[in-house]
């Protein structure tokens, strides 16, 4: 099978790909291919070629060519994912969507926008903001990650607590099936009950059903005012209790984020904001609405947190200060690398009331397996990010890390949660899918996969346990997986 792929790539297939997108946009040198085989997980593979598509037609043509050649295709945005969703585990063609850079329309009357897959989430959100509207999903990777990636992974972010995730904003999609046919789903209206909801099916399908080329998304009016609060706690349990109480009392901040002491220290080391380093946990809270509402909510939350032993509650006095705090929060996931060079990020999500229990369990797991575990995340919607810091070159340590990860999954499901709140299943969680969905659930998912991509060529090795690389995914060096082809170096 592998030999067949190699032969076909070397012969006419490359020439056909070049004919579609031009020689400049087909990358075959090992120097470049090696850079399209990773994401923000610790795993690395190498694709056989990278094709940088620039239009819907090019996507269709490339997929047709690959299907005929029986080549796997992996759609890629900015490769910032944390679940191994864009790893080319079976080689094949990496479909780089980065050239699809247009925001086609921002419609203020009908409150929607049409945006191509390669636009970064931040650039899109800023363009929307300039028109006085609001696109709330705000994954921490937004500066780099793309709208296509957000749709494929059904990404969330801090604002998900009040405003929901990508799924809640996508109205329609233009997507291409592996056979090169174009499927247009949904439309421009919020209400739309015509037939099966293919839009929702594609959102979060991780590029396993079709390649999303553009999305029509819903926009909402921007809140008139917002305010950011930072509360510090001497005891982590009090912070967790505050989260539960804020929710139980029906308060609805725009974001409710949890930061533990280790996360705080690394981000302080990066940004020097003067965070209270001796506290055990922080809550970062944003309230929004009318000026009056914002003041009322801020006062209520301050009183509540103080009654639950918050050591301090600080309200950001300027937009710059608030922006600094949010930059800190969004940098944590990367800044934790200051603790140890590698990390395994999880996004196990539990019902909100189980947050205190989950935090306790995470501490126990870290102690039991003797791993460095930091916790931060979207406490407001039960979506915590336990990150295990490790050294990928230390095999003994990695053994304990994988055991701890499996246990985190088990505990999450026990507490009524899910394997993943926003990062996606990818390769990293595929082996555990049966725990959550059972054989019956997986059977339905397989049937859906077969209907869209009967040859299993689109983003293979993801979602399904039988298809995924053996777990834990091998960290053996790249050498064994690299095919030195298409290059002629001096020897």
């Amino acid at each position: 099978m592998k030999a067949a792929i190699q032969r076909s790539m070397e012969s006419s297939v490359l020439a056909e790909l070049v004919r579609v997108v031009g020689a400049k946009e087909v990358l075959v040198d090992i120097e470049e291919r090696a850079l399209y085989g990773y994401d923000a997980t610790i795993h690395r593979f190498v694709p056989d070629a990278v094709v940088r598509v620039g239009s819907l037609k090019e996507v269709c043509d490339v997929l047709q060519i690959c299907r005929q050649a029986h080549l796997p295709v992996v759609p890629r945005g900015a490769a910032t994912g944390l679940s191994g969703g864009v790893l080319p585990v079976r080689g094949g063609v990496m479909l780089d969507m980065g050239r699809l850079q247009r925001i086609r329309e921002i419609n203020r009357e009908d409150l929607y926008a049409v945006v191509e897959a390669g636009v970064t989430v931040e650039r899109f959100a800023e363009a929307v903001q300039e028109t006085g509207l609001f696109f709330p999903p705000d994954p921490s990777s937004a500066r780099a990650s793309t709208m296509g990636g957000g749709v494929a992974e059904n990404a969330g972010g801090p604002h998900a607590f009040k405003y929901g995730v990508f799924r809640d904003y996508v109205l329609g999609l233009t997507a291409v099936k592996m056979d090169g046919t174009v499927v247009r789903t949904g439309g421009k209206t919020v209400k739309n009950v015509s037939g099966y909801d293919l839009t929702r099916l594609l959102v979060g399908s991780e590029g396993t059903l079709a390649v999303v080329v553009d999305a029509t998304v819903r926009l909402i009016p921007a809140p008139k005012a917002k305010r950011t609060l930072l509360t510090a706690y001497d005891r982590l349990d009090d912070a967790a209790a505050s989260v539960s109480q804020i929710i139980a009392r029906g308060m609805q901040p725009a974001a409710l984020e949890f930061i533990d002491d280790a996360s705080m220290r690394v981000v302080e080391d990066y940004l020097h904001l003067g965070l209270p380093l001796d506290a055990e946990a922080l809550l970062l809270i944003e309230v929004d609405g009318s000026e009056a509402e914002v003041s009322r909510q801020a006062d209520e939350i301050t009183a509540l947190c103080e009654s639950l032993n918050a050591r301090s509650v600080k309200v950001a006095v300027s937009e710059a200060e608030a922006a600094g705090l949010w930059k800190a929060r969004k940098s944590i996931s990367s800044a934790v690398a200051r603790i140890k060079p590698s990390k395994v990020s999880e996004d196990a999500t539990v019902p909100r009331s189980q947050i205190p229990a989950m935090v306790r369990k995470l501490k126990e797991i870290a102690q039991h397996y003797e791993v460095d575990l930091v916790v931060f995340g979207h406490a407001g919607d039960g979506n915590l990010h336990p990150n295990i810091m490790c050294d990928e070159t230390n095999q003994e340590e990695m053994g304990r890390v994988w055991q701890a990860v499996a246990e985190i999954f088990a505990v999450t499901l026990e507490l009524g949660g899910t394997l993943t709140g926003e990062h996606g299943v990818g390769t990293m969680k595929a082996p555990f899918m049966q725990w959550e969905h059972g054989e019956e659930g997986l059977a339905v998912m397989r049937a859906i996969k077969n209907a869209w991509d009967p040859d299993h060529l689109l983003n293979p090795g993801k979602l399904f346990p039988e298809d995924a690389p053996p777990w834990p995914v091998s960290l053996e060096p790249w050498e064994s997986r690299v095919k030195h082809r298409g290059t002629s170096w001096p020897t």
């Binding site: 120097e31 470049e32 070159t393």
Partner: protein, 436 residues
């Protein structure tokens, strides 16, 4: 120390590249990625390519390794964007030295060298030798006076240099100052400041060096010009010539640590950044390691020193609309922040119009505009688009940017001046004394 896949001294260290978790937050900070959208031309791509070479996945000699390590502007915007603290600049500089080492060892295999023979000669023999450099300055001054650089005579120059030659300011052919005497006028200065002259700055923009000395003196920050100093070595380290760079670093350390100085003042962001990294360059030199750290701690841009120690607000009034283009290194490595803007705004009658994305590299990047004219030109065009309308002067803090911006205004914004921050401040002080 060398390793299997990086066989030459000073390889990129594993602990440096292993801390890149590939999150991608650096991508949009990188001018070459903004232009091309290719992973190969991004900080994450460059760091991971170095990791791939170290792991034996990509051979050091693969052509695109050299290409991308040398297409980096070394502007360090990625280091500011990187929450994990990956020392991307150092990795790339070390990577370049490996590439150059390999090319040297295989002279027949590579038609295309990453660093041309001329550049190599310039960074190893011309820049470290201030006398030779001044003699060249004298020759250029003569040639300029004969009109050979602006007329058809410039066809004799290599293509990328022609436009630059045309926008080169008239040289005097004289050195700014004999580099060996105390120049301050106050008998009891509140601080003792060693002034770093630089190589290009000294020959091309000698006025700015003199202005720096006057401005320091005016503010009671006793300037001295230590003897024996030479080029900072930045261009050598960028060209992968680490041993040459270290030689220059040692000479500067000896020159400046001889006196009991509170500060080492630079007026060139690129030089200042290099001086601040001597500790890293000399980490394996037991004799100089500690001295380098002491030296680097004293290095500050003249704007930072004034901002910390306080400066006299000029009393004279003027009307000048300016914008400020920070140098990448001044902003990203020296972390000058808003100090230069604060000084500009203190001058009565100076109106500062902000420049969007001011810290984005203008494409000068040392001699990048000579080695990569296409990318440099694209970046310069974008930079000139960001220059606000209705300004008289672009103020900057680095000779490389200065030259590039001179070229830029000539092509896109004729009539706009380019000047150094200290000149603007010095002028304001001068007006004070001439019209009391």
């Amino acid at each position: 120390m060398a390793d299997l896949n990086f066989p030459f001294v000073d390889p990129p260290r594993q602990d440096q590249f292993q801390s890149c978790i590939k999150c991608g937050l650096c991508l949009d900070s990188c001018p070459t990625f903004q232009e091309t959208g290719r992973e190969l031309e991004s900080p994450r791509g460059r760091v991971q390519l170095i990791a791939a070479v170290a792991r034996g996945v990509v051979p050091l000699q693969a052509p695109k390794v050299a290409q991308t390590l040398f297409s980096c502007l070394d502007c360090r915007a990625c280091e500011v964007a990187c929450p994990s603290g990956v020392p991307i600049g150092s990795l790339i500089e070390r990577g370049r030295a490996q590439v150059v080492g390999w090319q040297e060892a295989h002279p027949d295999l590579h038609g295309q060298r990453s660093v041309s023979k001329t550049t190599r000669w310039a960074v190893t023999h011309l820049l470290p030798n201030q006398r030779r450099l001044r003699r060249l300055g004298w020759v250029v001054a003569r040639v300029q006076r004969l009109g050979l650089l602006s007329g058809p005579g410039r066809r004799l120059l290599p293509k990328p240099m022609r436009a630059m030659a045309q926008s080169l300011p008239p040289l005097t052919g004289k050195e700014t100052l004999p580099p060996e005497r105390t120049t301050g006028s106050s008998p009891n200065p509140k601080k003792k400041v060693g002034v770093f002259l630089g190589c290009v700055m000294d020959v091309v923009f000698g006025d700015a060096n003199q202005a720096t000395i006057r401005v320091l003196d005016k503010n009671g920050l006793g300037p001295v010009v230590p003897q024996g100093q030479n080029c900072c070595g930045a261009l050598a380290i960028h060209a992968g010539e680490r041993e040459t760079a270290r030689k220059m670093a040692r000479r500067n350390i000896d020159a400046f640590l001889a006196g009991d100085l509170d500060y080492i003042a630079t007026n060139a962001g690129g030089c200042g950044a290099a001086l601040m990294e001597y500790g890293e360059w000399l980490a394996d030199d037991p004799q100089y390691r500690e001295k380098a750290e002491i030296f680097s701690k004293k290095v500050k841009d003249v704007a930072q020193i004034l901002d910390t120690e306080g400066w006299q607000v000029p009393r004279s009034a003027t009307t000048e609309v300016v914008t400020y283009q920070t140098s990448c290194h001044l902003s990203n490595v020296m972390k000058a922040g808003a100090a230069p803007e604060r000084i500009l705004q203190s001058i009565p009658g100076v109106q500062l119009k902000p420049m969007a994305d001011s810290a984005r590299c203008c494409g000068s990047a040392g001699i990048y505009n000579l080695t990569h004219p296409q990318m440099a030109e694209a970046l310069l065009r974008r930079k000139m688009e960001d220059v606000p309308d209705g300004i008289d002067t672009i103020v900057t803090g680095n000779p490389g940017c200065w030259l590039q911006l001179l070229h830029g205004v000539q092509a896109y914004r004729p009539g706009v001046q380019v000047r150094h921050l200290v000149q603007v401040l010095d002028d304001a002080y001068q007006r004070e004394t001439s019209s009391p």
